[in-house]
C-alpha cells in the first residue's frame, strides 16, 4: 500500500521524477555518447563497429597533443597559484578595510566575470601585441607567460569571491584574541585567519584550476604557434574531421577534471570538518 505523500515531499511526485530524469538525460547523454564513441573501431564517429583502444594508443603517440597537454597543466598550475595569492589578498583587503572607492574596486574585481569572454580574448590579443608584446622566442615554460597572465585575470576574481564569502563568517575577536595572546600581525594572520579561509582557498583553487584548464576562447586569442593548449589543440584537430581520436582526447580531459574535482572536494570536506565551530 502506497503511503500518502507529506506536503513537502516533492521527490515522491512522478512529475518531479520525470523532470529530474529529463534534466540528467540532456546533461549527461552527450558526454556518455562522446566517451562511448572514443572506443568505436571506425574512422567515422557515427556508426558503432566494435570496441577498440586504438585511438587512445594513437593519442599517447601524438607528440604535439602531449605537448599541448603539458602546456595546459603547467598554465593551469601556475595560474592557480598566482590567482590564489592575488584573489585571497584582494578578498582580505575588501573585507578588512573601509576606504574611498571600495565599491569601485570591488566592482572592478568582478568585471572579468561579467565581460563576455570573446571581448576579453580580443582585449588580451590587442594587449599582448600592441601594449605589452610578449617575446615569442622564450624557452618553455616562459613562453606561456602571456597565457598565464590572461588566465590569472579571469581566475582570481573567482578566488576572491569564494574567499570573501568565507571571510564574512569570520569572528574578528579570534584575531584580536591571537594578538592579545602575544601574536604579531603576521602570526595572527597565519594562525587564525589562514586556517579559517583554508577551505575557501581549496574551493577557489579548484575553480581556478578547472577554469584555466578548460578555457578555450581567451587562450585561443593569446596562444601562439608554439604555445598551443589542450582545448585549442582539440579544436584544431576538429577542423579536419570529428575523429574518434578527438573523442578520446576529450574523454581524457573530462576524466582529468573529474578526478581533480573529487580529490579537491575530499580535501575541502576534510578541511571544513577541521575548522567547523
Amino acid at each position: 500500500m502506497a503511503q500518502k505523500r507529506a506536503p513537502l515531499e516533492y521527490n515522491r511526485m512522478w512529475q518531479i521524477r520525470a523532470w529530474l530524469f529529463a534534466v540528467f538525460f540532456f546533461l549527461y547523454a552527450p558526454l556518455v555518447a562522446l566517451i562511448a564513441f572514443s572506443f568505436n573501431d571506425s574512422k567515422r564517429t557515427t556508426v558503432w563497429r566494435g570496441f577498440t583502444l586504438r585511438y587512445y594508443e594513437k593519442l599517447f603517440g601524438n607528440e604535439s597533443l602531449l605537448t599541448a597537454f603539458a602546456n595546459s597543466l603547467t598554465i593551469a598550475f601556475v595560474a592557480t597559484l598566482i590567482s590564489l595569492v592575488i584573489g585571497a589578498l584582494a578578498a582580505v583587503l575588501l573585507w578588512r578595510y573601509r576606504f574611498m572607492g571600495r565599491t569601485v574596486v570591488e566592482g572592478a574585481f568582478t568585471l572579468p566575470l561579467v565581460v563576455p569572454e570573446i571581448c576579453m580574448g580580443v582585449a588580451m590579443l590587442l594587449f599582448f601585441t600592441r601594449v605589452l608584446p610578449w617575446p615569442n622566442n622564450l624557452i618553455w615554460p616562459f613562453n606561456l607567460g602571456s597565457i598565464i597572465i590572461a588566465h590569472v585575470s579571469f581566475c582570481f576574481p573567482f578566488v576572491a569571491l569564494v574567499v570573501g564569502a568565507r571571510l564574512a563568517s569570520f569572528n574578528k575577536e579570534q584575531e584580536e584574541a591571537a594578538r592579545d595572546l602575544g601574536a604579531n600581525d603576521w602570526q595572527a594572520f597565519r594562525d587564525v585567519l589562514l586556517p579559517h579561509i583554508h577551505p575557501a582557498l581549496i574551493a577557489g583553487g579548484l575553480l581556478a584550476f578547472t577554469l584555466s584548464l578548460d578555457d578555450f576562447v581567451i587562450t585561443f586569442f593569446t596562444s601562439g604557434p608554439d604555445t598551443v593548449t589542450f582545448p585549442v589543440k582539440v579544436y584544431s584537430m576538429l577542423r579536419f574531421s570529428v575523429t574518434p581520436e578527438v573523442n578520446a582526447a576529450s574523454t581524457m580531459l573530462i576524466l582529468l577534471t573529474i578526478v581533480l574535482m573529487v580529490v579537491m572536494m575530499a580535501m575541502q570536506s576534510r578541511a571544513q570538518k577541521k575548522t567547523k565551530g
Binding site: 584574541a177 594578538r179 565551530g277
Partner: protein
Amino acid sequence: MTAVDQKVDKGAKAPVKPIISFRNVSKRWGSTVGVDNVSLDIEPGEFFALLGPSGCGKTTLLRMLAGLEVPTEGTVLIDGEDMGDIPPNRRAVNMVFQSYAVFPHMTVADNVAYGLRIDRVAQPERDQRVQEALDLVQLGHLAARMPDQLSGGQRQRVALARALVKKPKVLLLDEPLSALDAKLREAMRFELSQLQQKVGITFIMVTHDQDEALAIACRIAVMNKGSIAQLGTPSDLYEFPASRFVADFIGSVNMFEAKLISDKPDEATVACPELEPHRVHVPHAVLGQETSSVWVAIRPEKMNLHKDAATPPAVPECPPAHNVAKGEIKDISYLGDISIFHVLLDSGRLIRISRANRSRWDQDSFVAGEKVWVSWGGTSPVVLQS
C-alpha cells in the same frame, strides 16, 4: 553630574600603587564620543566591574587596556607603565572575549598553549603550565577535545584558561556571562570570584547586568554616556546612589519629583506632588537650597504595606502623617521568594513594593483590588539633587 563618590581608604594603610590608571582618557570617532575624559585607578587584586547600558563606553575602556583601541586623548597606565603605542601582544594583560574567540581549528590544549607557543616557552614547561591552567578551570579531562565538541560553558573555561596561562597582571573579561543560560550564569558568578581569589590577580569585568556586577565585584564603576557616573562598592551604589541615573540603573526604584520644603542640620522635609497631601521626612540634612527641586528615590523592598484604616499608620521617628501614601493594589506578581505589589496611589502614580514571603501563608495576606496604606521609614528615601 560631578558628585563622584570617591571611596577613601579607611584605616592607616599606605596608599597602594594602582595596577591600572586611566588619566583623562577620551575616545572619539569623528563627532561620536565613546569615552569622555575618564580618570580611574584600579588597585591590585581587586575584582572590578565596569557597569553600564550598551554604548556607555565600558567595552571601549576595556579594549584600551588590551591595546585593541587607542585613546584619542589621555594616558593608560598598567602597573605604572605608560602604554602609549604598545601593541596588544606586548602588554601584561589578557582578555576573555565576549564570544570567547576560542580557535576552532585547535584542540583545547593547543588553544591554551597558543600564547606560550608564541612566547617560545619550551616544551616540558609549556605542557605543565597548560595542564595547570586546564585543571584550574576543571577542564583537565577535555584537553584533547575540539572546541565544537564543547558546551558554551566549557568553551568559556577554555578562554579563561588560555588567558590565565600567560600569568597576566590583569585579566580582562568582556561580558563573560552574557552568553550562558540563567542557571549556569549563577554558578559561574560564584566560580569566577573563587577563581579570582585563587589566582590573586586583578580581574576587570565589563557587564551590562547589574545583578552580575553586584554579586561578583569588589568595586563597580557605573558608566553613562562615556563617563563614570559613580564609583563605589556594590552596597554604596545600591543604598547611596549619587544620581537619578545610578539609582534607576542599579536595582529598581520608585522615583518621585519633589521640592525641598525645609532643610535643617538633622532633618529635612520634601513635598512630592504625587504623594500629597503627605510629605516625606528624612532624618538628615539634604544640603540644597530650600524650594529647590530634588528627586526622592525609594527602593521597593524598603516600603511597607498596611491594611486600610481611617488614619495613616504611624512611622517610627517621623512626624505623624509623613512617609505614607494611600492606594489600591492593582496587581501582585508572586515570584516565590518575594511578591511584587503594583500599587496605584490616589494621585494616579503606580509604584512597586516588594515583600519577602517569609512564611508559607504570607502571599494570602493582601489581595489585588484591596485598598492599602503604604509607608516607609525615615532612612529609606534617598534625596537626589540631579
